[in-house]
Symmetry: C2
Subunit: 432 residues, 2 copies
């Protein structure tokens, strides 16, 4: 691909969320994650993000600072009809222009109210005040239109706050306009998702490889993100030749996947429950689970996936030991001898639920989630997981998980999901 026309290779952006509710301890701005992702896709780096409330001076100062240093400034919120909605006035102040009522916008808002058999409140006329020089952006999902306002060589984009209004407006109106400014510059990404290995372990193996790709042409940037039981390697490359970027990213991804081996469960964006579902479907297999300390969370996660009724049959939550005996057929003697949190009991739970629900695979989880119930031999965080099937296969593992009750339960589910994945994929399975 040959690049045509002028290309600006280093546009920057700043994101401003406007609204006092996001300055409370209860709400966080998440629009900026969506906007960052979309800006990055166009090769634009986000250099700062801010949240400001309904103080006009603070909003004008933040906008002024943003326009002084970023090529594209995106605001969300503050476009409603009330006195608290200050974005339009702040843009007028920063751009040094006046605003005029746009009769077409008044009509559009009036029609929106009319379609619901309501008169347009006078207050909504405020939403039709347009700064001189701004382009009005249609918002089919709300009354607040957006604004595209050039300020010198920079541009100020104002979008409404509700995500279901903001997201389609970005894709329909803003992305094409911003793309004109970036030329053909694009950012492409790949993600390797890894289960059952810590961040430092992954980095030790991956660093020599991504270190080399960093000085490749095109250069590949890598970042590591760790969450409980999962590590992600995010690869990105910028340039104008999308095919070349994709080839380099695919090659680097394959090299990392080969080096990291079986712990890599996805390089195509799929979550662990989707990978497990696809593996079960490929085998024509079904799964059931017997859960104690996770209380149904494993089955809840397996059934997150649309269509999972094709491979999830169901399960038994055996929180009480009597349920383990009565509903799963676990031998009472086994419970007495080894305790509920033991490999023989986890194995019996897995085999029991598999037999009772007549599935190809059965999973058993039993453990001490805490905060109480720990002993010296089996402290809080001790969890035993068994996978019975497919066929004659049988895995059982005892793990000691860190953290509080919620963390222990979440990591138990993650560990069980990964054991299930390994049980259902051939050992020579290679993601590269």
């Amino acid at each position: 691909v040959v690049v045509a026309g002028p290309v600006n290779t280093s546009l920057t952006a700043e994101i401003l969320a406007i609204g006092s509710e996001m300055l409370t301890p209860f709400r966080i701005d998440t629009n900026s994650l969506f906007l960052t992702s979309r800006l990055n896709d166009l090769g634009i780096e986000v250099i700062a993000k801010s949240v400001v409330g309904d103080r006009p001076e603070a909003l004008v100062a933040a906008l002024r600072l943003a326009v002084s240093r970023a090529d594209i400034v995106v605001t969300s919120g503050g476009l409603g009809p009330t006195d608290d909605d200050l974005t339009r006035d702040a843009i007028v102040a920063v751009a040094g222009v006046t605003s005029v009522e746009d009769p077409e916008v008044v009509d559009a808002i009036a029609r929106r109210f009319a379609s619901r058999n309501m008169p347009m409140p006078d207050i909504n006329r405020r939403q039709a005040m347009v700064p001189v020089g701004a382009t009005v952006l249609d918002n089919p999902r709300g009354t607040a239109p957006g604004l595209w306002m050039p300020v010198g060589t920079r541009v100020l984009v104002a979008l409404p706050g509700p995500p279901r209004e903001l997201k389609p407006m970005w894709d329909d109106h803003i992305a094409p306009r911003v793309a004109e400014r970036t030329g053909r510059q694009r950012l492409r990404r790949r993600t390797l998702k890894i289960a059952g290995r810590g961040e430092s372990h992954v980095d030790e193996i991956a660093a020599p490889i991504y270190g080399r790709w960093r000085s490749h042409v095109p250069a590949i940037e890598t970042s590591i993100l760790a969450s409980p039981g999962q590590v992600e390697l995010h690869l990105s490359a910028q340039g104008t030749d999308v095919d070349q970027l994709d080839r380099a990213l695919d090659e680097a991804t394959a090299e990392l996947a080969t080096a990291l081996g079986r712990p890599v469960f996805s390089t195509d964006g799929r979550e662990l429950e989707e990978v497990v579902g696809d593996a079960l479907r490929a085998l024509g297999a079904t799964v059931s689970a017997a859960e104690s300390c996770t209380g149904g969370m494993l089955l809840g996660r397996l059934t997150n996936v649309p269509g999972s009724s094709a491979w999830v049959t169901g399960g038994i939550v055996a929180y009480d030991n009597l349920v383990k005996v009565d509903q799963l057929g676990v031998d009472a003697q086994l419970l007495k001898e080894h305790g509920a949190v033991s490999e023989p009991v986890a194995s019996a739970m897995a085999a029991g639920v598999r037999a009772r629900l007549a599935t190809s695979v059965g999973v058993g989880i039993t453990g001490v989630a805490g905060p109480t119930g720990g002993t010296e031999a089996k402290p809080v965080g001790t969890v035993v997981i068994a996978v019975d099937g497919p066929g004659a296969a049988h895995l059982v593992r005892t793990v000691r998980l860190p953290g509080d009750r919620a963390m222990v339960r979440q990591m138990s589910v993650q560990t069980a999901m990964d054991m299930l994945r390994r049980a259902c994929t051939p050992p020579d399975y290679n993601l590269g």
Copy 2:
């Protein structure tokens, strides 16, 4: 209570999160929620929040703007030993001072490494560079000490990024220092949590009441936050007489709870699963659940609560209809006649799991979570929930829930939890 000494009643704060990872689409700053809550507790309003990366100019500009308009500026992150850690240098630039190596800090860092039998890397000496005029704040959980730096009448507080380091440092070192500046000014809060009513319905009932309290002395501010299946009314009042604030908040809370009635499930911070657990425990009752479309999520939520083994016996996830027949004893004829998503089947599931697991109460959930499986008569979002017990009580409801698969499942669980709450609390139960 009589106020002694000078009281500044209108301190403001600004929060800056420092770190390029929070400018990606993958990570969000959550320290600011903790910091906002703690600042609010001291009667301090947060007027802006920002995230900046590892560009020195951007960081210095953001700090300068913050110090120009807020009395207290709190930063998190950027205190590590590498070149990317710019907070110390930015403070030096903004305060117009120099920095010197503090031998005590060098010693403390060296001791930390020595305790792990490691030599201190030379690079960590950077963490001992202290801006002249700053007080060093001990960080027992990491190598990065914090800084308390007066700038004119304002103060700049620098804390490390990891929440497990930042939170105790705030409580141990910063809160007492900030409290000295605010005098006895405090903010007190109450929260009413409401299930099964929409935001506008709640506001219609609550607005005349909180409107009156807004002009009361002390004034009570109210905000409404809605999430799927739950509405929260947050009340707050500021002043120096904590007893007077608490009395007014308790009175307003009681008045709102009485007006809103049964949908209010908590005024003391408890979540719905805690309220349900407490109600079951008070009755000496146990619960089991038979879940289809929610696939174990209800049981997962019930067992979130530490000690829930006292009231949750377990359950059966009957994702496949055969499980409904074999494990729950649902009449196959009933399934054929009414379909799996029907009131007779939900009732039979609830009664079946109650009988099989011998619990005081049984819950049955069956529905169409989507995206496929909907029909004209039972579109996606149709969910039937039954609660059998305690005693002869039997509730069954068919609801049409909005949103995607995840939302339908989440709201199904919320609806079932609320039906369970109502079944287990006497109808004249009054939270006021």
